[in-house]
């Protein structure tokens, strides 16, 4: 009798008390993969474009999912999101959202803080959203492109960024919670990747191209991709990549080294007037393209290649720091953050005029490149 009662209670609990209060099936959810924010038709409004997953073909032939674009206008971001429901039979669902594309004019004029507010507060939208800036006139035209490897532009952008650090290291990206940290932290200026439309043979597609640099939360300009690449050496954010150099000094690069491991150590000091930064890069590489006829078993040849690559790296890193110092005076490298972490009292003294100190900072760079091997052949 007692056993029967216990089984009854357990069945009752498992049937009625597990699950959701307001269950929605997958067919009643419009899953959003990416969102693009542009200016709305009227002043003070936003035009949001949602790249959603259309499941209507999924049950059909091959289960192919197609992107579906939904547009909506509102006075705030959340207003636009809710107004989208006027067009849809299902509510938008944001837990799968991977990318947020922001119109660069909006980023320059309004700043991105009000735009990312909702995504930080809402519990559906995750902290791992990639925030990027559109290099085109609008943000939504990026969604019109057909991605090369996957079905959705939002997913493609996210995957380009994710695999970049293991392949090329040309993109400095920030997830939305890292954007928040950057904006509220001392001593580092925000940068976000820029995505543009380029021709890939016949068809146009999207490509990452440089970074947007920000003053507080307003965009003030963009940094070319190669400068970004060498700035990643300065901040020790390179995982993999390649280094090319011109061994014969004939104007044509003839050596390509694949970076297997690289570590940058920086130290910073203040002598009362100027900031002095010492940077030391230790890299371990594989020589995969060398001038034909080079004898890799000859120690002097290997040393020549290392030395040439070292010089090239140091020169390029100097160039990238100089570029940011002169063009924007914004500390995207986090030198201010280094001072704040070591000596916060000194930072409080310098923080007001940090842009000036950063502009006049002296940088000394040393590089040591160790060539581990040359691949499969000598």
């Amino acid at each position: 009798m007692k056993k029967a009662f216990a089984i009854l209670i357990v069945s009752f609990i498992s049937v009625t008390m597990t699950g959701c209060w307001n269950y929605r099936g997958a067919d009643k959810m419009e899953t959003v993969k990416g969102v693009a924010i542009d200016m709305g038709p009227k002043n003070g409004t936003y035009l949001l474009t949602f790249e959603t997953i259309n499941l209507s073909d999924a049950a059909g032939r091959e289960g192919k999912v197609m992107p579906e674009l939904v547009e909506s206008v509102g006075t705030t971001i959340y207003d636009a999101i809710r107004k989208a429901n006027n067009k849809l039979s299902s509510k938008l669902y944001f837990s799968q959202m991977q990318t947020l594309i922001i119109n660069q004019t909006l980023a320059k004029e309004q700043g991105i803080s009000p735009l990312i507010e909702w995504f930080l507060h809402d519990n559906e939208a995750r902290e791992l959203i990639n925030v990027v800036i559109s290099g085109e006139k609008t943000a939504k035209e990026l969604f019109n492109m057909k991605p090369i490897s996957v079905d959705f532009v939002g997913q493609e952008i996210c995957e380009i960024i994710d695999k970049d650090r293991y392949v090329l290291s040309y993109i400095k990206s920030n997830l939305i919670y890292e954007v928040y940290n950057c904006l509220n932290r001392d001593g580092i200026a925000l940068t976000l990747p820029i995505f543009m439309i380029v021709q890939n043979g016949e068809k146009p597609t999207i490509q990452a191209d440089g970074s947007a640099v920000f003053k507080k939360d307003k965009m003030i300009g963009n940094i070319p991709a190669e400068i970004v690449h060498f700035s990643l050496f300065v901040t020790d954010e390179i995982d993999k990549g390649i280094l090319t150099t011109d061994l014969n000094n004939d104007g044509q690069d003839d050596v390509a080294l694949e970076i297997m491991k690289t570590k940058t150590k920086s130290s910073i000091s203040f002598d009362g007037k100027k900031i002095k930064i010492k940077i030391n890069v230790q890299s371990s590489v594989m020589a995969l393209e060398i001038p034909p006829g080079t004898d890799m078993l000859d120690v002097t040849s290997v040393k020549k290649i290392s030395a040439s690559a070292q010089n090239r790296l140091v020169q390029k890193m100097h160039e990238s720091i100089k570029y940011v110092q002169t063009e924007y005076q914004k500390d995207v490298f986090g030198f201010g953050k280094m001072i704040y972490e070591k000596n916060h009292k000194l930072w409080h003294k310098l923080s007001k005029d940090w842009d000036v100190y950063f502009k006049n900072a002296e940088v000394e760079i040393k590089s040591n490149i160790f060539i581990r091997s040359s691949g499969m052949s000598k």
Binding site: M17, C20, W21, N22, L120, N123, R126, E127, L128, L175, Y177, E178, Y180, N181, L183, N184, R185, K337, Y340, E341, K342, N343, H344
Partner: protein, 379 residues
């Protein structure tokens, strides 16, 4: 009868540790000094240690009793009853607060459309069942839950390693000293000194068990787990995000990912949170119902259990209007709770010392008779 309701030292340590980190681990930081929160945590532990010695001393002087019986023995019928009333009220209030923490967490983080009372009813039903079955069941429950909790916390720390940025630790001790002292007191009152409520179930401890061992090891384990959780949150989130998030531990787990297949692990720490919190509320419910039973002269706490549970549940819904009141309320709560956690135990301890010295001197032959608890086999 006594043997059925006894808990061994290991189970007691588990109950105490779960009391400490059960509901605080989800909050992961104290506002205003996020990246120095580990310093304030250590300060709170140091502050709590002498009071833990006071709590242990109270049990040591009267082994096999709980704080209600000790109050009656030491202060007599009238003053003792006032003590019992005060601790019953405190237990009820604290239980209601922790219940509210839970239902708010569920509503904010996981299911915004589920009404809080739906979660509350299911939660309180489970806790009432746990308390109904006695302290020994609570002890066994804690002994099972502790390893599960620790394994999950360790696993999240290991999985979070890739997302950790150790420079988030710096600058060390840069927050304003006043703010840090403020946070240390907050951490002291919530959760360390709440272990005073453990004294309401010490009837199930035998004379041979050392209360000092229970309290000190509990302090170390509880504090260590909270420290690990703080560091994990700090290294993954960074100062600004940690300060702005309502539930930093939950946000940390949302970020943790290993490759593409292991991600979105929030349910592990949500369930962890529940396991710890159920233990804490169960102890509060024990204290409240035993105290109510003693006040009203009812034999056994089970008859008082259901009404007290209903009162606690209803109180949890009305104590704060919204989550902002709940988060700000911690500043007020500590001043309300401090007398119960510091002043009253010291008074009881002094009274107990005087009483035992007097008994030793005057009534040596009758000593064994006087120290027996008033109600034995009451469970």
């Amino acid at each position: 009868m006594i043997d059925r309701e006894s808990i061994n030292t290991k189970q007691a340590i588990c109950i105490l540790s779960l009391l400490i980190f059960g509901s605080s681990a989800i909050f992961g930081s104290v506002a205003g000094s996020a990246h120095d929160s580990w310093i304030t945590l250590l300060a709170a532990m140091v502050l709590a240690a002498p009071f833990f010695i006071v709590f242990s001393r109270i049990i040591k002087l009267f082994p096999g009793s709980d704080i209600f019986d000790i109050a009656l023995t030491v202060f007599g019928k009238i003053a003792g009853r006032i003590f019992i009333l005060l601790y019953t009220l405190y237990s009820t209030y604290l239980g209601a607060l922790v219940l509210r923490n839970f239902t708010e967490f569920v509503q904010v983080a996981t299911k915004p459309e589920t009404p809080q009372w739906a979660i509350l009813i299911i939660l309180i039903a489970a806790i009432v069942y746990l308390v109904f079955n006695g302290v020994q069941v609570l002890g066994k429950w804690s002994a099972v839950i502790m390893p599960i909790y620790l394994i999950i916390v360790t696993a999240t720390v290991i999985l979070a390693y890739q997302q950790m940025d150790f420079s988030n630790l710096f600058p060390i001790a840069s927050s304003d000293t006043g703010v840090m002292a403020d946070s240390a007191i907050k951490l002291f009152t919530f959760p360390f000194a709440e272990t005073v409520l453990f004294l309401t179930i010490t009837k199930s401890l035998k004379k041979s068990q050392s209360p000092y061992k229970i309290y000190m090891i509990g302090l170390l384990i509880g504090g260590a787990v909270m420290l690990i959780v703080f560091f994990r949150n700090l290294f993954v989130l960074g100062g600004p995000t940690m300060e702005s998030e309502l539930f930093p531990s939950y946000t940390t787990i949302r970020i943790v990912r290993v490759g593409t297949f292991l991600q979105r692990l929030e349910s592990t720490i949500s369930s962890n949170f529940y396991l710890g919190g159920i233990t804490k509320i169960a102890v509060c419910l024990f204290g409240a119902s035993i105290g109510t039973a003693k006040l009203l002269g009812i034999k056994g706490y089970k008859k008082a259990l259901f009404p007290v549970a209903v009162i606690m549940a209803v109180l949890s819904q009305i104590v704060y209007k919204n989550i902002f009141e709940m988060l700000n309320g911690l500043s007020l709560y500590r001043w309300i709770a401090l007398p119960f956690q510091t002043l009253l135990p010291i008074i009881i301890c002094i009274g107990a010392e005087i009483k035992t010295r007097k008994d030793k001197k005057n009534m040596k032959p009758k000593q064994s008779g006087n120290q027996e608890p008033q109600e034995s086999g009451a469970y």
